[in-house]
Symmetry: C3
Subunit: 146 residues, 3 copies
């Protein structure tokens, strides 16, 4: 616990080039960099996907289970099904929006003694659900005391 004589908000955004969805990339190191730069000892970090066809979560970043997550995401909202979204845009990414809305755009991770508290096999991932390659932006905001 700490008073406000040293309370801070620090932020830095991340951009990452991603393949067509579902593409899942590990951004843990980039987020750790923000924690380190912030100088914040205890607090919380918020990671949010900018754009409605991206989502953020945690998983073990291992090729097999990443493939498994992609498969099940595509079963929850299959790319090859008809979506009413077509009527508005004819852009073929109705499933991308639905998948991203269900996974969700943001997570929060605690910071203790200058480090994020994550499991050994728990990585922070951004998911691009869109149907084309794109550069995704992720906002990273740290709140806590130095």
């Amino acid at each position: 616990m700490a008073g406000t004589d040293n309370f801070f908000v620090y932020f830095q955004d991340i951009e990452i080039v991603m393949d067509k969805g579902p593409d899942i990339k590990d951004i843990t190191l980039s987020v750790e960099e923000v924690v380190n730069k912030s100088g914040i000892k205890d607090g919380v970090i918020h990671i949010t996907s900018v754009g409605s066809t991206g989502s953020v979560t945690t998983i073990e970043y291992e090729p097999g289970v990443i493939k498994d997550l992609k498969d099940i995401i595509n079963e929850i909202a299959p790319p090859d099904r008809y979506y009413e979204h077509e009527k508005a845009w004819h852009d073929g990414n109705g499933h991308s929006h639905v998948q991203a809305a269900i996974i969700g755009p943001s997570i929060s991770v605690s910071i203790r003694n200058y480090e994020m508290v994550l499991g050994t096999w728990q990585q922070i991932v951004i998911i691009n659900h869109d149907i084309k390659q794109r550069t995704r932006k992720i906002t990273v905001t740290v709140v806590g005391n130095t």
Copy 2:
């Protein structure tokens, strides 16, 4: 980044009348109003659904894809299936609780230069999963520096 000489928490809650679920409403403008009133320049805003049959996420608020999301939510936890929840309450909303728990009650969005960082087509939505019309309450809390 900013020190604590101007660090603030600001909050204001939102109430919105919603149809029986799944009903999805865009609350982005109401949340923006809270950001504006807060006077906070850089930080983060937390939006949480109060009540176990509501959820919060982001999606493009376009009638077609909103219909698509409703359909797929009702496939994940179908209203017409038998739920053990019936034994406790006989209120027919077992699917509402399950749907809300899977989508999740809260999101966090970053604030940069007095504005939320959202994609052009990314709106903040509240989902009422309950089986009757109801007024849903959403808490909105801003943390950051002015």
Copy 3:
């Protein structure tokens, strides 16, 4: 709203022994304890599961609907299906990782007048998706003013 003359971050982590997944436990009282100890009047509390086979959400903690949620989680990512994750670890918990990634690791709840703003039937739950009994760690961080 309040200035920074009394702005605080307070944290305390929770550990809980859980059965093999999906096991769902109510941690609302433990989280309330952290809120009370923090002395924070207005702000927000962040609850995050440490480890990639755990997740956090809210639901009415009632045996029937808890059983319903477990059943549907196991339909989204069935334990008895083949997962590519097997190739890496042969530990039979591919479904655990996928389930946890979809539900998500964290939630945020608002604090008003020294109390969390939750619905009457809305409890904070930790889900162990792993295939064995284990002690799960949850980080709890409160940010706000006294």
